[in-house]
Symmetry: C2
Subunit: 479 residues, 2 copies
């Protein structure tokens, strides 16, 4: 067991140093590698395969609501970026500029897209003429660039992968409906696929997207009690349409501006999965996004028939559509267990000579370490059951942890006391004035996460100024 | 039929002006839109959906050979690009340079990847230590940038989408094997999925990739007799490994350089599909990459029960896995036929009151315009048959056209005479000297497309200089 221990000891425990634990998991599970390009990372096969499963399942949900995929250029001319005032102010300080093409300086510099609202406006202006051309419900999967100073794998990097949906509608109502529809797609996806519970709500004006009328968000809570904004959906009203002149001839033959939305999710979701589900043995992946769901590990594999039986079990499971591998390397079983745990593979199947004799195997669940004996005759059914149960229970457990880290503050003393000792979501009433929001942020180093759709009346007055309260707000330290 | 005619007349005929015909199809079939960014295009929903089907089917073929997907940064520091001499000379004149990040000038300028050999070397240097870490067989789907002066939709643009595979092996033999394996994957994909016949062969040294020991290619012939390089696979030997220091400890405990390959296919494949299969009514899509395979078009749709029946047929076909839509807009049937033809939808199903009464419908194939009556009881089976037959026959027909446009030249007079009147592939013997290759290019404005694997001995002597011939070469004008 010495070598086994070595692999495990190489991760810092999360109680000791959560940030270091995170970095260790990302490296040891071979998700990410650093590069010569500061702030940019390699998504290694194990990391990218998770993203592919996220893409596939999210894309199916998009298409079920009528979304069509497109691809727009990665470059935005400076003059195009400058057209919408709030937007350019929000993004100009953090974009990368292309100034030379080939051996020539460019006549107009181009930024690498930090987001594509401006390009979609330019495109929609071309293709929308009449109400018959509406709605436009487009999405693209691509990478974007934001010149961040501090970077962390998956959570914040200079280039990251995402999807960005952009829609144009004939009416304000339809735009608002689409904004909320996509937020709900995101929330359901997080809970049903990533097993991450989220709080749905609206951002305060201070925290909304540059150029939006309203920004909606889903907020998740990590193991260390910090919040992670996991997806946002914006309603732009007709602000961008006016700045870019995106008009259509309506049924009444008058020219009107379209109403637009955008919504995005990124590779930071993988960071969320790590920080919600991971433990001191490494990554724990929900079955639905695990590139390998089952690892078959032969015990005493040199004994006759063991490797053959392991391969047979793998083939049987693969035939039923499970993503399965067999670890037939010459490492010890203990080492293989540690690796399978580090990589977050949801289930391992142990099979040795005695098991074969008894026509059984041992199934071990990654998250709970629960072991159960299984007759080989029932293998496929049992694996299906275990994976399904694990998917459901991972969500339940994450929700219980989140709820246990959600507190209530009715005045500033309580508010201070909570963040002095703990970390988590704090629910508190707010008067709606940015002065109070600013003060809370300054004093407690927390930000408003959202005004949740599920409002509660914790008290009548603002936690900060004591004036009449308008909204309950979730507060927290955030990634 | 007046409006019907209008839509059709809006395309230039390919006999009159092939280049204009191509541009018309690309626009009218709504595949591409131009943008404010010179040389960059929007892939519209109908265009991007074709790319998604190409990606899916090519990716499955890759994974079946053990390929793993990754994602590397889009930026390459200048010093990294400069490490391999031939490579930098080939690409530096056409890259876009990022010189500013946020509001600051960068210490070292970064180019937007024109291809990622240098980044993969940098990555492999980190992750390869011993023979146990080999082979590395990675691929990424991404966009790349090359600052082209003349651009054409799909065929040549400043930014395009592609996949680039990059592998590292312990031995030269294994690298050569992988290079050819991927070329075969490409060739099979073109023929079986895109219904495009290709010539497989090796590029001459003059035409090979910057930094490669050997470049293999698949070459297709377009309707106008011009060649299109449709996929390439490169063997780098250990040249990049030496430039970047990518070494591994072999089983014998000595340090050795890895042997590398790369291979890529791009969105120009969509251009190939248009120019091989299209006709004067528009696009013709092979069923396997048609986003919509069947369009159900109701006739006299205001009559009771027609729209309901059309929807029912659509649902029945969708349930069998066909990609199917019903056109229930208020346009005339003739107009709908023209649109379906322009968009290259492989099959339309016509259903009207008389058909319903007779329990039948009419199936019309896009490529041959062949119409057949079909009992509604046999709809699913018949549609399956027609699509399968169409997929096969499109390849056969394309092959027959290609063969009819493939000529033989045994001396320069014949060579000149062919290109004076015609366009196509010309097979001719070559001595192997670049002087002859240069002379042929200068005199006839044609390039060597490849030295095909299937060699023929057309004569003993070089078509140009009359010295002993070493290879048969395919020549042609190329996109």
């Amino acid at each position: 067991m010495a070598e086994n221990k070595k692999l495990v000891e190489s991760i810092t425990s999360m109680e000791e140093d959560f940030a270091q634990w995170y970095t260790d998991v990302v490296k040891k599970a071979e998700l990410i590698d650093y590069t010569s390009v500061k702030g940019c990372m390699v998504f290694r096969p194990a990391g990218y395969a998770i993203w592919e499963l996220i893409q596939k399942q999210l894309d199916e949900r998009f298409k079920a609501t009528g979304v069509e995929n497109v691809y727009l250029p990665m470059f935005i001319p400076e003059s195009l970026l400058n057209k919408e005032k709030d937007h350019v102010e929000g993004f100009a300080p953090e974009v990368a500029w292309v100034t030379h093409g080939g051996l020539q300086p460019l006549q107009e510099k181009l930024c690498v897209r930090p987001t594509s609202e401006t390009l979609f406006c330019d495109y929609y202006k071309n293709v929308i003429q009449s109400y018959r051309d509406l709605p436009q419900v487009c999405n693209q999967w691509c990478s974007v660039v934001r010149w961040e100073k501090e970077t962390r794998p998956f959570l914040r990097s200079r280039e990251f992968l995402w999807q960005e949906g952009h829609t144009a509608h004939a009416t304000a109502e339809e735009a608002e409906e689409r904004t909320l529809q996509m937020l709900n797609v995101y929330a359901d996806f997080c809970e049903e696929v990533l097993a991450i519970p989220v709080v749905k709500g609206r951002k305060t004006d201070k925290e909304k997207f540059a150029g939006a009328v309203a920004t909606y968000t889903i907020e998740a809570l990590m193991h260390d009690g910090k919040a992670l904004q996991s997806g946002t959906s914006h309603n732009f009203g007709d602000g961008f349409a006016k700045a870019f002149g995106v008009q259509f001839a309506d049924k009444d033959n008058t020219l009107k501006y379209v109403h637009q939305t955008s919504w995005g999710m990124t590779t930071r979701l993988i960071g969320a999965v790590i920080m919600v589900h991971g433990d001191n043995s490494g990554l724990v992946l929900p079955p639905k996004i695990a590139p390998t769901q089952v690892m078959v590990i032969p015990i005493m594999q040199k004994k006759e028939g063991v490797l053959e039986k392991a391969a047979e079990l793998k083939d049987r499971l693969a035939a039923k559509g499970f993503r399965v591998k067999v670890d037939d390397t010459d490492k010890s079983p203990g080492w293989k267990f540690s690796e399978q745990e580090m990589r977050g593979i949801p289930v391992r199947v142990e099979i040795g000579p005695k098991d074969i004799e008894a026509n059984k195997c041992v199934i071990c669940r990654r998250d709970t370490r629960e072991k159960l004996e299984c007759s080989l005759d029932e293998l496929e059914a049992k694996i299906g059951e275990v994976l399904e149960k694990m998917q459901v229970e991972m969500l339940e457990n994450a929700r219980a942890r989140r709820d246990a880290q959600t507190y209530v503050a009715t005045n500033m003393e309580e508010f201070r006391a909570i963040f002095a000792e703990k970390s988590g979501f704090v629910k508190a009433m707010w008067c709606g004035e940015q002065a109070c929001e600013d003060k809370i942020k300054e004093e407690l180093s927390v930000t408003s996460r959202c005004m949740p759709f599920e409002q509660e009346e914790l008290s009548d007055v603002c936690v900060c100024c004591g004036k009449p309260a308008k909204k309950m707000v979730y507060w927290g330290r955030a990634y």
